[in-house]
Symmetry: D2
Subunit: 337 residues, 4 copies
């Protein structure tokens, strides 16, 4: 059973509730976040307990959930979550496009990309400052310098920005520069990092682990929500299979499956999914038709010179063409753009 405390509850009120739960013979799992305090009640429970807890005025919600993921579940919240991300919202009617280079390389590229993003109506700029690279000898990202460049462009161009955080120590730094913190596929089960982003307020985009089941992915989201941050966006980015014609196998069925199990928004990253720019447009349209709330797309002014992931990046013209197609497609599947 999960008890969500009201936003303005005091520490004394939390103590009172936990004391009472323990008196009834249950164990308690307490997570005090910046935004929400969540109390897990552990042990075999009866219906009376739920009623008793609901009677407390500063308790917002009490939910029994049979699945291993609780807060993430549609049983916990029937209606779709709609999450504020900088200048816009994700999970509602609007289709959200997050575009930009794989890595922040220099200011000019960001400015040029931001211009095209504004021109085409894309709402967010993406770019990695900390880069998880399979070789220790590869470019590891510009670090804080890259975050500053992102923030500058954000301020100048009025776009929201998203960037990856690799380590729990980076959380406090990165969250001051960006609108969404991204957890990469390799860190989907870095549980201490999940707890760290769960303890702060900024929305978190959680990429699916490249060999994670949908259930494991939802459990990873649960780690974040259990710490009190309910602003989680899920991102399908392709899973690892035997097929080599594409970089990964984009599992678009994850979109309707997640929508049926959870209230959280889902976006799709077709760039990592297929790994080749020529297939990105088709899969972007397919993702939107499957019900995705947004797309995360790699775009670069000259993909052939990109420091990383050039082969899967759209050119500016490629992006313009895709956006035109999405503008026609979105209303047919119930989205605005």
């Amino acid at each position: 059973m999960i008890v969500v405390m009201g936003r303005d509850c005091s520490d004394e009120q939390i103590d009172e509730i936990t004391k009472r739960i323990k008196e009834w013979g249950f164990d308690v799992n307490l997570s005090k976040g910046e935004r929400k305090t969540v109390i897990g009640v552990i042990g075999q429970q009866k219906e009376e307990v739920k009623s008793s807890l609901e009677a407390f005025p500063y308790v917002e919600k009490v939910v029994s959930v049979s699945q291993p993921f609780k807060l993430v579940s549609r049983d916990f919240q029937q209606e779709d979550s709609i999450i504020d991300i900088g200048h816009t919202q994700i999970g509602g009617e609007e289709l959200i496009l997050m575009v930009g280079p794989c890595a922040v390389e220099n200011e000019q590229i960001l400015i040029d990309t931001a211009k095209v993003a504004r021109e085409t109506g894309c709402q967010l700029l993406r770019g990695g400052a900390y880069k998880p690279r399979s070789s220790p000898y590869s470019f590891q990202g510009l670090g804080e310098e890259g975050l500053k460049l992102l923030k500058n462009v954000k301020d100048k161009k009025g776009l929201s920005v998203i960037s990856e955080v690799m380590d729990k120590e980076q959380v406090n730094l990165v969250k001051d520069y960006v609108d969404i913190l991204q957890i990469g596929t390799r860190n989907m089960q870095n549980f201490n990092l999940l707890k760290a982003v769960g303890k702060q307020e900024k929305p978190v985009l959680l990429k699916r682990g490249m060999s994670s089941t949908i259930e494991e992915w939802l459990m990873a989201a649960e780690y974040i929500m259990a710490e009190g941050n309910f602003n989680v966006i899920l991102c399908e980015r392709g899973i690892r299979t035997f097929e080599t014609a594409t970089r990964n196998t984009l599992d678009l069925s994850a979109v309707p499956v997640v929508k049926s199990k959870s209230h959280l928004p889902v976006v799709v990253d077709p760039s990592h999914g297929v790994g080749k720019s020529e297939f990105v447009s088709s899969m972007s349209k397919a993702a939107v038709a499957a019900g995705a709330d947004g797309l995360l797309i790699e775009v670069h002014p000259s993909p052939e010179n990109a420091i990383s992931d050039g082969p899967q990046s759209l050119t500016f013209d490629g992006l313009r063409k895709l956006v035109n197609e999405l503008r026609e497609l979105a209303p047919v599947v119930g989205k605005k753009f």
Copy 2:
């Protein structure tokens, strides 16, 4: 190098060409089909050979192809193949829907389904008479009786029909009843069966093996075409991965990948792809948005009573709703329905 002979060439002309190729020091791979005769020239070739062969009046085409699949390749034929299937064509502008029960169970179900198919504008009726089942103790299909039921309904309702052939001995029988022969996922590399369907005229729908790479799938299509039957339709139906939330993982990126490598039409079977009816609509729309030429969808008047694959079958109302949505979607992605 591949030499395609003109349709009306005589045996003497074929002999003359093969004799000449051998004189030049090459090996020959000869396939005489009902519709086309194809001569493979094996060995390291120079450009002159190509010119010499093209000079023969009864040679239709000579193509050098660097990829392992030749006749299947876009290098062999630039424009999309458009294939006649009963009352309609596949691979052109029209979106093709093939609907019906997994197995032919009885005539009433076929008649009822055919009625809904006509009403909604679906062009083909599907239904298995020979069923590959993982247990020897499960229902193995009605056999020829099932084919007769299909043919009856076809004649009454004016729909084309498609059914599976499991064995090279069944080919001659099945082709007299249906408009398209289906090769199932378990038989994608049953090479003798591929040769057998390549030796006759009826179009063949070739399902991707559940753990086949796209290249292996195209090589399987090559087996059919190398025997002279160029009417091959590819069907993506999900691949085997670690994910268990869906029956298979529908690899929609296979659609644009195949379209870039081959001129053959591609359809998608979302029913086997996801295995749960509640996700079939989303994935049908995604497939069409990805560029599929058609869909193969399991439909049953009462899925809960279906002998096989009930959980993944749409009801009639489910089909009506989906068709309405596809009718809006198709024109946005360049298809008519």
Copy 3:
């Protein structure tokens, strides 16, 4: 429930039993094989039915099995199956080595290989006469000519031989030349072929499908046994995964898993499992340590000139070295060689 009839029962006796079962309200699945007649009783059964059936003198055995595979199951037969294969037996104490080239290329290679096989104590010679190749333009095997070569060498050298059958039409031909019929990985779910080899007497080596679960593999064996041929040998040969350092991923845990679920012998094909000769010895030893009853190993006098699968073939010296090591290893894990 499964009823196995005594070897000498008459058709009348079979009719009597099936009639009785139907009178009790059950469906019947009847398989008359050359060696055994097996009657499946379909429907919800009570313990009395079993007793009644056991009372018939010409009924050998009646078994209730809860798993989807019945005859294959350890519940059906507690003790290990030991199968006669030409000059020896498999599934007992003796470790069985089946060695030879991937494809039968010519007589000399077979003779030379047979000599080394005899010298080292290997019991069987392997070689493909019908070859399933992913390209229609590749060497497809010598066909019956290859079988004759195998038979010749067998007669001269006193080795048993094993060769693949790809098609149900080939069964009658191939079984006259060889001691074991091999079903390849691509045909593991070619159900009509399974039924055909189930209807004859020769032992069948059933390779695991490259993406088959162990349960599907045992169900495929059930298809053979349900037709009356109980002489089935299972062969693990690697499954398809994302790893590319080896041709397949050899799943040695399949050996103890199968041994716990089934009474059938299990052999391992490390050559296809790893695809590189340098790793074949290590994996051969590992297979024997895991409990395999035998090994199927590709050996070629000059692997660099082999028509197919050269890179994974041991040289004669490689085989000699491996056999010496296995001779030491076998007794430590309860096998004789």
Copy 4:
């Protein structure tokens, strides 16, 4: 090109070398570890550069390596690495067994397990104090309290101990209690954690990511070595595939593959590989026969009461039986125990 500096080189000497390399027009990647300083020379290099660098007296070694992994490669070091781990060494002739419960639960279990470990000749005690669990509501380990219990038992019983570190902040703490730091499968590409354990002296056991290729695994080891810690032990623990009869698919072919590409020791964890105790013995023997340097085995006094991973834990009697079998097997495959 990789330059390894002598152990006693001064900061001035390092500066001199890097300055010289830069003068020649190359980029430098400098890693100063506690034990070794490694300088990566980045850019297209000629043979003269190597000779010039080798001429410096305080340079230990200069190696050109064509593979993406450098220090890890057999090209970098021909002979097997032998690594000191507490009271013994790994990678040499001795077979190393690391046994114990999945999680440290209480002192009594550790003491009892240590007793059996000593009695049977196992060299290390394992036990997790920090546990990565897929649910935030599951037992997360005893933390430092668990490390203290491990250390106590180590001091009393004279065994070495190994435990997992999940986070770079834990590294300094954990290394004071244990002989080997373990990196779990979910953290194989937690690059900041890899760098952190690379900067300290204690040996590191690096589990293969559950969906990592062998090359990615070796690149992860390269991250550790590039920071100067050359004491890396690789651990195969099963990869994720479609098979569900076992928890993972233990990829024993990884053992000979890694041995051919790298000089690092390799151990195998059959407990996670198969996930069921009944198959652990077979796979332990198979691992040793494949060439593993050691085994990591879960053992628990009463598996049915274990807080985590009970179903895959051996009982004490199971361990005794297995050790007896390994004692016979080891000498046959060139190991001592």
